[in-house]
Amino acid sequence: MTTTVIDGRELQPPEPMERTLEALDTLAEGDDVLLLLYCQPHPLFSILKKNGYAWGEEVRADGTREIRIHKLPG
């Protein structure tokens, strides 16, 4: 299992979303994408929901959100 890390904290929108969508294009079953941001990317969430991805969120003490995305089986 491999994790692709995308640190979006120092990128200007929409770069974090572009990179995430690009990474999802090549995501293999069982792998995941870890996106780091300071905000909740609602537009990305709605794309994920509609396209069969699941994600989990954790907030670090410095306000960074760790958003871990993987493909749902099937």
């Binding site: 904290r9 120092e10 990128l11 200007q12 929108p13 929409p14 572009e18 969508l21 690009e22 999802l24 294009d25 300071y38 905000c39 909740q40 609602h42 537009p43 969430f45 709605s46 794309i47 929901k49 509609k50 396209n51 410095d62 306000g63």
Partner: protein, 428 residues
């Protein structure tokens, strides 16, 4: 595979754009009004011209732009669903436009009929808007201080419009109400409870995101909105409590929290790791410096009553708040929102990412920074013109020109969107 990704039902791009495309022309009208009125326009806050100008900016520019932005911001930032956005926007926006013209004409020419005609239109337009937005804001599962600030702001808008309507009817029919106190409470809710509350709430979200700063400290976001609300409630008590000491007692801490917001934002900009100096960052800096200048001037106003006795002093405060703070911050925000929406909606057409042009191609950077410089010049000229009435006409001209430029920049972005959209469709 990206081409198959489906995008959420965010409102159609025409919803925010119908507000954004109109807003700058109200600002341009304000500039032209200054040119037309000339030297006497800013002699005191109570001249018909000053009252008309206030609402050309506050309702024509600010409220139009902020309503348009909310339709888009609510789904994108707090995951809320606005009920039938296209229908609501198509109704609210023209009503608001008409109501603003009637109110401004009524204030300018002193026509009671026009004032009375504006009131039901405002109640309908803003009543509908507030209801729909409040439902979206209370139904979203999201949490956080941006959401809370937006909830308080929308309540602030409702209070402002109710008080404004009462004032307009009082002027039209000569009701015996304490006009000055009511006006001061109305403007407190309009500028503080609505505009500043919304600006702060939106800043918590967009300043870190678009300007690549660290997040606002959580002690700040947790306390700012509540303190602002508390001071506004206390400020409103002037309607009941008739005590000359009361005003400064509320005003000082209020000015202090304004400075805290402006100072925090400037500090976040200053300490960010990756420095970007795009038009949005610079516009925010202008807005926050204006807010600090407002806080310092406001303190002087209460500390040195002999200076505050000059009726032009309050006009100076008004120019700082309306043109220095809010026009700057809102313009800066539009310069990010519009390119971002262009990009997002082009994505939604289902083209591969590489086919969608970069956000930077939507409005040329030079056009934005050029317009910013002209705006700053207009603010400085207006501030000088408060004390040197001979400068009012040139200042009005500069203001009109900067809004016309803004209008052209936004219209150009929409044309570019249409061009790219047609290219993508043709290629598909």
């Amino acid at each position: 595979m990206h081409a198959s990704l489906s995008f959420d039902q965010a409102p159609p791009i025409s919803v925010p754009y119908r507000f954004f495309l109109v807003a700058p022309w109200f600002g341009a009208t304000a500039g032209i009004l200054l040119v037309w009125a000339g030297a006497d326009a800013l002699g005191s806050r109570w001249t018909p011209e000053a009252l008309a100008l206030t609402h050309l900016i506050a309702l024509g520019f600010m409220l139009q732009a902020m309503c348009g932005a909310l339709f888009q911001f609510i789904p994108v930032a707090v995951g809320g669903n606005v009920w039938r956005p296209r229908l609501v926007a198509n109704t609210v926006q023209p009503l608001l436009l008409l109501a603003t013209l009637l109110l401004v004409a009524g204030l300018l020419f002193g026509r009671p009929v026009l004032l009375s005609a504006a009131v039901p239109l405002f109640l309908l337009a803003i009543g509908g808007f507030v209801t729909v937005v409040a439902l979206a804001l209370w139904q979203t599962p999201a949490t956080g201080m941006t959401l809370w600030a937006m909830r308080m702001a929308i309540a602030g808008l409702a209070i402002t419009v109710l008080l404004g309507s009462l004032l307009a009817e009082a002027l039209a029919h000569g009701f015996a109400v304490p006009i000055v106190d009511l006006t001061n409470v109305h403007l407190g809710w309009g500028l503080g409870g609505w505009a500043l509350m919304l600006l702060a709430g939106v800043s918590y979200h967009v300043v870190p995101m678009f300007q690549l700063t660290r997040p606002y400290p959580s002690w700040f976001t947790r306390s700012f909105g509540l303190l602002l609300l508390g001071f506004l409630l206390a400020w409103s008590s002037r309607l009941l409590l008739d005590d000359a000491l009361w005003s400064p007692l509320i005003a000082y801490p209020l000015l202090l929290i304004l400075s805290a917001y402006a100072g925090t934002t400037l500090w976040l900009q200053y300490t960010r790791r990756r420095k970007i100096h795009d038009a949005t960052s610079l516009y925010f800096r202008v807005a926050m410096l204006s807010m600090l200048a407002f806080a310092v001037s406001g303190t002087v106003y209460f500390l040195r009553p002999e200076l505050g006795a000059d009726p032009r002093f309050v006009v100076w405060l008004g120019v700082l708040a309306l043109v220095g703070v809010f026009v700057s911050a809102i313009t800066g925000m539009m310069y990010k929102i519009v390119p971002f929406l262009n990009w997002l909606h082009l994505q939604r057409l289902g083209a591969p990412i590489s086919a969608v042009p970069n956000m930077k191609k939507m409005i040329p950077a030079d056009a934005m920074t050029g317009q910013l410089r002209l705006h700053v010049l207009a603010v400085l000229m207006l501030l000088t013109a408060v004390w040197q009435p001979g400068l009012i006409r040139p200042a009005g001209l500069a203001l009109a020109a900067s809004f016309v430029w803004l209008g052209c920049n936004l219209a150009g972005a929409v044309r570019r969107y249409q061009g790219f959209r047609d290219q993508i469709r043709a290629a598909a």
